[in-house]
């Protein structure tokens, strides 16, 4: 009985991972093994970081029970501001441009948090819908709606460099992503602030009455989202060697999808970084697999949409089963 339960629990926890493995097996068969080739796996490693980085930032916000629709725009404004520093001030040092990019992202995220907590806008959907447009507009405005290119090798290094042999190498951006995930995981699970994020997402009022500075927690999370968007932006600049004001138009939706596929709850308080990473890889895998099979991009969208719905449906089933188990457990303690 209990071993069955443990098994169920493990399957429940590893659900997204199992789905990913299943997907990989299917794609491998469908592409006659092309999918699992070394060069293609490297491709997937290359395609994952941008979604994954934006996803983990989004996770911080979703854990609060919030949402950040401005993620794609924050990516754009971060890279465009450093692009402008390059173009207008002629500074090309990575020690200036990278910090400028990151600080811009953090600032943009902080503004989201301030709008929410200090202006008491009713829902982050509204605040970030507003800034989504504002940041995008600003990015277009300061760049004159044109891409800025000519970044130095130092700046593009993160997005382009690889480690390993010519046959099999891993993109630096992917390694950086994993590192940032590990740090975020430790942050969320081991630090007081991380604990406060989960508590706030689980019950805002209980958190406030327990003396938690809820405003600060929220502002931090939105700023974190901005930070991760800027990091994704750095990878983006490396890839294209240019700062494009229309970059990542749908990045926020991909990021949200990664979190949801990874099992984060929209109500807040539930979710973890590894689920989000798997969600991000899953999106990359689907895109990649579809490309390999020559599936058109419109069909790709349909597949990704279906996966999101399916993932959430499985989650609903799971939480229903959990709720039932909870009721049974209460019954037991009362009988005791």
């Amino acid at each position: 009985m209990s071993s069955v339960n443990t098994l169920k629990r493990i399957i429940g926890k590893l659900g997204p991972l199992l789905a990913l493995v299943l997907l990989i097996i299917i794609l491998t068969i469908a592409t006659d093994g092309k999918f699992i080739s070394a060069s293609n796996i490297i491709n997937i490693f290359r395609q994952t970081p941008i979604i994954a980085l934006m996803g983990v930032g989004m996770l911080c916000v979703i854990l609060l029970g919030g949402i950040d629709l401005s993620a794609g725009s924050m990516l754009a404004i971060s890279i465009c501001v450093s692009g402008c520093v390059l173009k207008n001030l002629g500074i090309s040092s990575m020690f200036v441009l990278l910090p400028v990019c990151i600080l811009t992202g953090i600032a943009a995220g902080t503004v989201n948090g301030l709008l929410l907590t200090k202006l008491h806008l009713p829902h982050p959907f509204i605040a970030t819908l507003g800034t989504k447009n504002i940041y995008r507009g600003l990015a277009l405005l300061i760049t004159g709606a044109a891409a800025i290119s000519g970044f130095s090798a130092g700046v593009t290094w993160i997005g382009t460099a690889r480690v390993g042999s010519p046959q099999f190498n891993i993109p630096v951006s992917f390694i950086m992503t994993i590192l940032l995930y590990a740090i975020t995981h430790i942050f969320l699970t081991r630090t007081g602030l991380g604990r406060k994020i989960y508590s706030f997402g689980g019950n805002k009022e209980a958190a406030r009455l327990a003396g938690i500075n809820t405003d600060r927690v929220q502002i931090f999370c939105y700023a974190a989202s901005g930070f991760f968007c800027a990091m994704a932006g750095i990878v983006y600049v490396g890839r294209l060697n240019s700062a494009v004001p229309l970059a990542s138009l749908e990045g926020d939706l991909d990021a949200i999808a990664a979190c949801i596929i990874g099992g984060a709850s929209f109500l807040g308080g539930k979710g973890n970084v590894w689920g989000t990473l798997i969600g991000a890889i899953m999106i990359a895998v689907i895109r990649n697999g579809c490309d390999l099979m020559g599936v058109s991009s419109d069909l790709q969208q349909i597949v990704i949409g279906a996966v999101i719905v399916l993932a959430v449906f499985v989650d609903v089933l799971r939480s229903k089963a959990e709720a039932k188990a909870k009721r049974l457990a209460i019954g037991k303690t009362q009988d005791a």
Binding site: R190, T191, G192, L193, R195, K196, Y198, S199, G202, N203, E205, A206, A207, R208, L209, A210, G211, I212, N213, G269, K270, A325, K326, A329, I330, T333, Q334, A336
Partner: protein, 525 residues
């Protein structure tokens, strides 16, 4: 303790449960009855062998303390809750009311305290909210308007039925609710504290309407906390206490004092393990606290080593005072002194810094993160204290958590268990432990034992005793008088945002009758 003897219901044969509106009945027949109904909720027996009957054309008062089981009784009648034991008898036949629609079909309507009115819809739309009249596929507004006007007129209301309900006063909105019941041909209308949010004029209007309904042969169950209203409008009154039927009497034979005695009269027995304590220094003093609409000039002081009870009806402003002190809600004016030092109006975290702990009445909504583990809930209020360089000290958590579980006898498989899967009593113990972990000096407990079983209650009283022994100051809001009397050293009675009086253990007024009187607007004497 004897229920009034019902006349034999011989007319049940004539009744047509499927066609309630047309049942053949004489005025004064028993139309609906609960017989020996028992209803359990997790950890509590809400109704115990409860019997209750309603005759057509009568206004039947239902009265009892907060938590006596009135709401559950309503819910059984309206098909929201199904009893575990006992029968619901309608027109002489046992029926199962498995959902609210069924109750509506047999002619039971209910006006809840919280009105179900859509403010942005007209009177007509609200009246016909779930039973439109159609002509072909379109709504037949002509007929609906006419009927709406007719119903409102019957209720003594003269309003344009196209008016948006949001623009009407609460009293008129309530009439619309009553109109809905009439429209669904209700023969029994339950009114749950219908006057609690009405002005004096609106109350008069409601009383007139009740008389009109009565003349139509509709039975009314009238629940109120205002005794005078019971005497004014009701024919019979049933007293319920601890989910049990206590008495059912003709109002003409009832006295004020007996009603109160019936409501509260229970032996304290050994339910309350109160210990003698020594009053120490002043811990907190509140002066002229005001907050528009809810707190009207409240001043009091509480001392270390004592339990200060706050008695009163639900909505008397006790919770609001405590929330203001704790910084959970803002207040307009007044001063709060902690250990003689004036505290600026602040936020909860400022209050916690000043060693105040506040256990809210709504443990699920405000006290716990239900999906989080017991461990994380135990240390919710002390995250900053428990961190070293920003990192949580897991080992400290494990150790203190295990101690907490032992100290408070929290029944759980492990520290990792989500707190939402515990029973109410154990959840409450987690909340208490959370606050004691903050090492506070002043503890405010708002309804600390609501909805939990007797065993857990006593354990919580033991914690209160222990805090007093350690020289802490305990303020306890409770709507259960026996608890107030059983555990407090001093009692403050509040009503409508004001302090009505204060009495001390050993005083002549330290009894339920006096406190109840004050809570209902009398003098504490």
């Amino acid at each position: 303790m004897i229920a009034c003897t019902p006349e034999m219901n011989v007319l049940g044969v004539h009744a047509h449960p499927r066609n309630p509106g047309k049942a053949v009945q004489k005025l004064g027949d028993v139309i609906m009855e609960l017989r020996n109904v028992t209803k359990y909720f997790p950890g509590v027996v809400a109704l115990k062998n409860m019997s209750f009957q309603v005759r057509s054309g009568e206004v039947h008062g239902l009265i009892g303390e907060n938590g006596a089981g009135k709401s559950t009784l309503i819910k059984v009648f309206t098909g929201v809750n199904q009893p575990e034991k006992g029968e619901i008898i309608i027109d002489g036949r046992p029926m199962v009311l498995s959902n609210p629609n069924m109750a509506k079909k047999v002619g039971i309507g209910c006006i809840y305290q919280e009105l179900n009115i859509v403010p942005d819809m007209s009177i007509t739309d609200n009246l016909f909210i779930n039973q439109y009249e159609k002509k072909g596929i379109l709504l037949d507004y002509k007929s609906m308007r006419k009927k709406a006007a007719d119903i409102m007129k019957q209720l003594g209301q003269d309003h344009d039925v196209d008016m948006l309900c949001g623009k009407l006063g609460i009293g008129v909105q309530q009439m619309v609710e009553i109109g809905k019941s009439i429209l669904s041909e209700a023969r029994l209308i339950i009114m749950d504290e219908p006057t609690s949010s009405l002005s004096a004029k609106e109350v008069d209007q409601l009383m007139e309407t009740i008389k009109i309904l009565k003349k139509k042969g509709i039975a009314i169950v009238f629940i109120s906390h205002k005794l005078q209203e019971i005497f004014d409008i009701c024919d019979r009154v049933t007293v319920i206490r601890d989910g049990e039927h206590i008495s059912c009497t003709q109002v003409s034979e009832m006295t004020n004092d007996r009603l109160i005695r019936d409501m509260v009269g229970r032996a304290l027995k050994d339910l309350f393990p109160k210990e003698e304590t020594v009053r120490g220094e002043e811990a907190i003093r509140v002066e002229n606290l005001k907050s528009a609409g809810v707190i009207k000039d409240v001043s009091f002081a509480a001392y270390t080593g004592e339990v200060l009870g706050f008695a009163g009806l639900v909505g008397a402003g006790r919770t609001e005072v405590m929330r203001a002190i704790f910084g959970a809600d803002p207040f307009d004016s007044g001063s709060i002194f902690i250990r003689g030092e004036k505290m600026k109006a602040g936020r909860p975290r400022d209050a916690i810094k000043r060693k105040i702990a506040f256990m809210t009445e709504d443990r699920k909504g405000e006290g716990l993160v239900l999906d989080a583990s017991i461990k994380n809930n135990l240390f919710l209020a002390t995250i900053d204290k428990d961190c070293k360089y920003g990192f949580i000290q897991q080992k400290k958590y494990e150790r203190l958590g295990a101690e907490n579980i032992k100290t408070y006898d929290i029944k759980t498989p492990s520290l990792q268990t989500p707190v939402g899967s515990l029973s109410g009593g154990n959840q409450q113990k987690v909340v208490i432990a959370k606050w004691v972990n903050t090492d506070a000096d002043i503890y405010i407990f708002d309804e600390p034992t609501r909805g939990i079983d007797v065993g857990a209650k006593i354990e919580i009283y033991q914690v209160i005793n222990k805090l007093c022994r350690e020289g802490k100051c305990v303020i306890m809001i409770s709507s259960e008088l026996p608890e107030i009397l059983g555990m407090s050293d001093r009692v403050i009675v509040m009503r409508e945002g004001r302090i009505m009086g204060e009495t001390e253990r050993g005083d002549r007024n330290f009894n339920s009758e006096s406190i109840m009187k004050a809570a209902w607007g009398g003098k504490l004497s």
